[in-house]
Symmetry: C2
Subunit: 152 residues, 2 copies
């Protein structure tokens, strides 16, 4: 088995990424999967590509996408003009869990945030994801905040 | 007393905005205030201005800045390519609290997110801000997530 590699996603990765997003107990009902890629994802990918402060990344092993996450680099005034790196939509393929792939992927993401000058990395995790909470806490994240959402 | 108005911030608002950010029990120790505006804030303001997916907004009454918040419009693949509106750095002047200014400001911000095509508005609030939690819950936000932070 070859080593896992992390890189910026390209449009050819989209079907594999969407399959990963849908293969998740919480995410499954929120995605649109079928034999043909739903154009909502190609539109979203184009919007991410247009924004230099977004980085959609994949983990790849043996030419297969085995993980996905999105980084947003957010400028702001608070904390003396601190840039924040935000992690969203983290998914690791079922067969890769528990083997360190997720941890290595997040460490790579944190390094990217550091490289872009961020002073803080932030993410929110659904209250129901107890395994994810242990995972992020082992990486040094602290749950100091409540994550509020409002559907429009 | 004139009505409160909400608008995009301009650089001339920066000293008043920084004073608001510093006039906060949690934020005070994290900001840099003095007779001269710290260049870290002008740099941060320029970075916000350069990014079309950022909107720094102020609440104004009688030509005085009485509130500030930042909106980030974030494209993403999850939830069928949903755009998220994210609210960060919300501050309302002490003399304006409890009178509906904060609520009106957030409702204005939520409308901006809707206008920009977002399907979700999200924010995190420090666990210590009990008043803020009641405020966001009254606006319809639900604390479904944990907000994790990692200082770099």
């Amino acid at each position: 088995m070859k080593a896992v590699a992390f890189r910026r996603a390209v449009s050819a990765d989209l079907p594999a990424i969407v399959a990963l997003l849908a293969d998740d107990p919480i995410g499954s009902g929120r995605e649109s999967v079928g034999p043909k890629l739903d154009p909502c994802y190609t539109d979203a990918f184009a919007a991410i590509e247009r924004d230099p402060n977004q980085l959609l990344a994949v983990a790849e092993r043996d030419n297969r996408v085995v993980g996905v996450l999105q980084l947003s680099f957010i400028p702001g005034l608070t904390r003396r003009g601190l840039w924040r790196g935000q992690v969203e939509g983290v998914r690791v393929a079922a067969g890769e869990r528990g083997g360190g792939t997720g941890r290595a992927f997040l460490e790579w993401a944190i390094d990217e945030c550091r490289r872009r000058g961020c002073g803080l990395v932030q993410l929110t995790s659904d209250e129901r994801r107890a395994d994810a909470h242990r995972f992020y806490e082992a990486l040094g994240f602290r749950a100091t905040h409540r994550g509020y959402k409002l559907a429009l």
